[in-house]
């Protein structure tokens, strides 16, 4: 029998608010264990949660970007279960009235398929358990307790592992642009659980699903979904039955293992959180957030093509990180010449970033200085090689390009007499090469240009050097 895959996603995203969802503690990653904590996030008796308004704002922003309707009156609920990383023994979450509902996200590909978003809800993260094999004990770190999370629940609309990854990449990009999360899968600030089931092609009924957990990269997710679909198909073909269960993916073993079955499923005894009041969101607030929404990457790409005439490839590279796109826009606004700016960022700047292991979010370069550099080049004041070095200086030492060029005398030499003098000297010193050239060795021309440039300390306009050298050789 031929089967098709049906998958749905639950994506947890840690929000990058400065403080936690229900107390004033920092959300910073890392830190000595149990230093980013207070009586509230460690669930001390008698403490009460107070909702961080920024979390609501981030949730609304995300909901709007994912075409959701925003629930005007929403509430928090308690999800009760015992685990040492959960100090209150309940997680404050949203079951009955989540903040965002019924949205969608279009994923790239031939069909531009729309994936339904069932809901987005806010909740608090739990702490971390660290097993100490030396002392054979488990230690608890509550630093992560109370870090705000959004859970973005999709409809079971995925038909392949590729679609799952395409959706996650698109979601990742949007969340980064919204500035609501740093979305680091390795640090767990973006985590995806995938519900996987298979069914005979053409069937309209859903098969029994399993929930796959613990994938911490896109690759792992792709492999886990592919593996799980295959496992289920083999099971069914062998006359077996798929059990509804949660499975843990082991990326090293390239296999998944059952964690708990539905029979042992927890009864979370959800009920409305009595310590928090229901939240009313008026349309004024939603509209204020909407009008303050950043332009999303897809909109940027089509605008860059339309407005600046950039090729699609350039728009992809420039929008691959929000910081690059913003830099591109800022520099272009200052000096025009979008293609020049794009090339400089895509080739020279990104090389400098790679060489210095700098991630886009840590990029720090003054757009005004980059614009001044572009102007120096396009006005013919310096040549491209000097421009390249100058970018290096701006990038590493934040030099002022105009002052630097003046101080170091890097202005392009366009004076024919000066160039001619230097060319004459080169021709006199390299008779052999001149003869080679005249004997048909074109390579020799390049060598002579190089020597002339060297003599002019690299500051000459290469076109001028070319022209004068050719004139003299042809004579």
């Amino acid at each position: 029998m031929t089967y098709e895959l049906v998958a749905g996603l639950e994506v947890h995203v840690e929000l990058s608010t400065a403080s936690k969802i229900f107390c004033g503690c920092t959300t910073a990653f890392g830190g000595e264990p149990n230093t980013h904590v207070c009586p509230v996030c460690t669930g001390m008796p008698g403490t009460l949660p107070v909702l961080n308004k920024h979390v609501v704002e981030f949730a609304i922003r995300t909901g709007l970007a994912l075409n959701c309707s925003i629930t005007p009156y929403h509430k928090f609920d308690r999800k009760n279960y015992f685990y040492p990383d959960l100090p209150k023994a309940y997680q404050i979450s949203q079951l009955y009235l989540p903040i965002c509902q019924s949205g969608s996200l279009e994923i790239p590909g031939a069909a531009n398929k729309r994936i339904g978003i069932h809901e987005i809800h806010m909740e608090e993260d739990a702490g971390k358990l660290i097993h100490d094999p030396w002392d054979d004990c488990t230690l608890v770190d509550y630093n992560r307790c109370g870090v705000p999370l959004l859970e973005i629940v999709s409809e079971p609309d995925f038909g392949s592992a590729d679609e799952v990854v395409a959706y996650l990449e698109k979601l990742w990009e949007i969340l980064m642009y919204l500035g609501v999360s740093d979305c680091k899968m390795q640090e767990g600030s973006m985590r995806a659980d995938v519900n996987v089931s298979v069914r005979p092609v053409g069937s309209s009924e859903l098969g029994t699903r399993t929930e796959m957990k613990n994938m911490n990269s896109m690759k792992a997710i792709h492999r886990a979904v592919t593996y799980e679909a295959q496992r289920q198909i083999e099971l069914l073909d062998g006359g077996g039955k798929v059990m509804q269960e949660t499975r843990r993916w082991d990326d090293n073993k390239d296999a998944s293992f059952a964690m708990r079955s539905k029979e042992n499923a927890q009864d979370y005894r959800y009920f409305p959180e009595p310590d928090l009041l229901p939240i009313k969101i008026d349309t004024g607030w939603i509209e204020a957030i909407r009008s303050d929404m950043p332009e999303l990457p897809e909109e940027k790409r089509s605008r860059y093509q339309r407005e600046f005439g950039l090729p699609e490839y350039d728009t992809q590279v420039l929008t691959s990180a929000r910081e690059l796109a913003y830099l591109f826009e800022e520099v272009t606004a200052l000096c025009g010449k979008p293609k020049e700016v794009a090339n400089l960022i895509m080739v020279e700047l990104m090389r400098l970033m790679r060489d210095s292991d700098t991630l886009p979010e840590n990029l720090s370069i003054d757009a005004h200085k980059v614009a001044a550099l572009i102007r120096l080049i396009t006005d013919g004041k310096i040549n491209r090689n000097v421009g390249k070095d100058l970018l290096d200086k701006i990038y590493h030492s934040d030099v002022d390009p105009e002052a630097y060029v003046k101080e170091k005398g890097l202005m392009m030499l366009d004076d024919d007499d000066l160039v001619a003098k230097a060319v004459d000297a080169v021709l006199a010193d390299h008779r052999k090469s001149v003869e080679d050239y005249k004997g048909g060795k074109d390579k020799a021309f390049g060598f002579l240009v190089g020597q002339a440039m060297k003599a002019l300390k690299g500051k000459a306009n290469p076109q001028t050097v070319n022209r004068i050298l050719r004139e003299k050789l042809e004579r």
Partner: protein, 493 residues
Amino acid sequence: MDFLDKTALEIGGLIRQKELGVVEATRHALERIEETEPQVNAYIQVLEEQALAQAGTVQKRIDSGEALSPLAGVPMGLKDNICTKGIGTTCGSRMLEGFRPPYSATVAKKLEDAGAVLLGKLNMDEFAMGGSTETSWFGPTKNPWNPGHVPGGSSGGGAAAVAVGSAFYALGSDTGGSIRQPCSFCGISGIKPTYGAVSRYGLVAYASSLDQIGPMGRSIQDCAAILSLLEGHDNRDSTSVQRPPLDFSRSFGGDVNGLRIGVPKGYFGDGLDADVKEPILRAAKMLESLGAVVEEFDLPIADYAVPAYYVVACAEASSNLSRYDGVKYGFRSEAGDTLQDVYYNSRSEGFGIEVKRRIMLGSFVLSSGYYDAYYKKGLQVRGLIQQSFQHAFEAYDMILSPNAPTTAYKLGENISDPLKMYLGDIHTVSVNLAGLPAVTVPCGFGKGGLPVGLQLIGRPFDEPTLVRAAHAFQMQTDYHKQHPQLAKGGNAK
């Protein structure tokens, strides 16, 4: 000076006028504690040294001319479910024996700022679950009027201490009657404030949507003064309400002219003991004679208040008490090797029977398949009770009722019959379900000379009108001025 005859405001006045030193008042209270504790057991912990040191500090603040409050320097006690930084807070439970909170409750801080002197932490039913203070891990408190009887609960320690003079006032908490019923049983005054009037931050939660902290004192005037210190929005408690302060300036004129008082017929049926009914109805007559309009009426849904209360309160409690798992603080069982065993054994050994009963009840009503039939229904009934009160307050300014169907019963009499114990809450729980304020004042004595209290229930944030009526009543009566004659080393009179 006979301290037993003095209210907290009078003590505060003497201190302000330098006729009494704070240390002297504190020393007196500590002596009274020493004298009465063997028979009463009102305190879980007495903070002798700290109280004297604090008294010295407060005296200095007063001497330096710092304007503190009318109650500055007056020694008092806190129910042991109110967190006090660095000071053991047990909730009357083995589970929290030795737990010292790293922070203070908002009310504790407010009183400290106002110059209160903390004598100690008061006994209570375990996690405020009970109406007799018999479920305390630290042994029952006895009723000073007759140590063979319970003081009521769960704030029984506070009620007994105020009655016997081992504190000038106390803070209790009221989830289903836990301030009013013990005040009634011990012959003192108390206020259960409107839900949201007083911050719950630092009150160890029993049932979050019902819990309120409130004052217990020797007169309703004391209680109003204390409440003025406690109330107000707290940005650490989202359920505390932002509003102007309660205005008691017109509460002490002694008149009740034109006040419309409703008396719910259903509260005075067969379940009510005659020796309670009689003083209550006499009190109603007195208010009428003072100019109030008193009328009987029907409060229909009231019969369902007790079941709805136990469903809602236990559901919340089952969740609130889940954090006591033996992992982070408090009691941890020595037995067991696995995480599951640590949870199981710590909770089995750390909690008493009544707490376990309510946790099981609450877990059951929230569990899948039963949620709609119990918890959801409980919430619906709660809504109907709220409506039914709203309706009543269209016709009346306040509702007059008993606090309990009986006077203080004998120790051990009801402890093995939970249903009977629960039904004792019939007159108080609906007030919590509706989030309303209520006051209680002593209004007479029943069989064996045990006190009876009068409950007045009001509109949200209308504590000033309730206090006005209660104060007018206290101006005409001296029940609140009578004190138990606790015999030295023996039983009461």
